[in-house]
């Protein structure tokens, strides 16, 4: 009984079980999430091009025209360039989410657009990185990793 209890509470076993559950969750998600999207995304568009349907795509602005802009997205290594028809002002490098009706040749007539400017996006990444470094410093004041026991120990 004690041996069984020891095995069931062993760190290695719990680790393996949790990793397997995580892999299962990832697999189940990848296989099913496209069927449950509110609007088709780039993955669905590449698979069965739902022309005339309202789609939701996101990406980076690569070119700006008088009647819209070009949006570049990357789905599992496949690059897609959408021509977006919209009066919303954007600039090259902006991160954009678009909801709109899919036409021929990856053209989308937008009904809703969310824009995060290139500066705002980079600023978000930089301040997040700085915050993380500060957090690591404070974390190291209270916790140290003991490589012999393979676990964190309280410092104070």
């Amino acid at each position: 009984m004690n041996t069984l209890k020891k095995v069931l509470t062993s760190r290695k076993l719990i680790f393996i079980v949790l990793v397997l559950v995580l892999i299962f969750l990832s697999g189940f998600y990848i296989l099913n999430y496209q069927q449950h999207l509110e609007n088709p995304n780039t993955g669905v568009i590449l698979k069965n091009y739902p022309i005339g349907e309202t789609v939701a795509v996101s990406g980076i602005v690569t070119d700006v025209h008088t009647d819209g802009f070009t949006l570049s997205d990357n789905f599992q290594g496949t690059k897609v360039s959408y021509t977006i028809f919209s009066s919303v002002k954007v600039s090259n490098g902006d991160q954009v989410e678009v909801l709109g009706v899919l036409g021929n040749s990856y053209q989308i007539t937008a009904s809703k657009i969310l824009v995060v400017s290139s500066f705002d996006y980079n600023f978000l990444l930089v301040r997040s990185a700085i915050a993380f470094l500060i957090f690591l410093y404070f974390f190291s004041l209270y916790w140290r990793f003991d490589f012999n026991k393979m676990e964190f120990r309280r410092v104070k």
Binding site: I14, V21, F123, Y142
Partner: protein, 161 residues
Amino acid sequence: MPDWITHIVVAWTICRILRFKFKEFNNANTMIVIAGSLIPDIAKLVLGLKLIGIDASGYLAPIHLPSGSLIVAGIISLLFPNKKKIFLFLGLGVLTHYCLDLILEHVSGGIYLFYPFSWWQWQLEVTNSSDYMITLLALCIAGLVYLIGKEVDNNRALTSK
């Protein structure tokens, strides 16, 4: 995602408020809660991988869902002596992360809060991810809580003498 300043500051503020009542929310355990608040964004590693042309967003996306985040919290808690307690602190951090992410606006969809049991997507459409007014608001509230906490600690020290 709101920036990590917001996630860190909100997790710290909640711990500081809880410390008024519960001694367990000391500085060391607050660090664990803050670490938990950053767990869902491990999925943001895809940003780095995208730079070298690898799109792993589908594979890492479940980490940015409550069920996936809690499993990662479980894995991380194995690296601490008091696993159950640490898991609860990490879980609290994860909870604060999703409370903040829920307020973000997307053109479509939202967060699968109850995946794998439900595919219903949730979003409150309050603000977008680059809005630093939320960061400033969180910092102001944290500053206020810090000052109140200092005052309360001073009063407690005086009354105990």
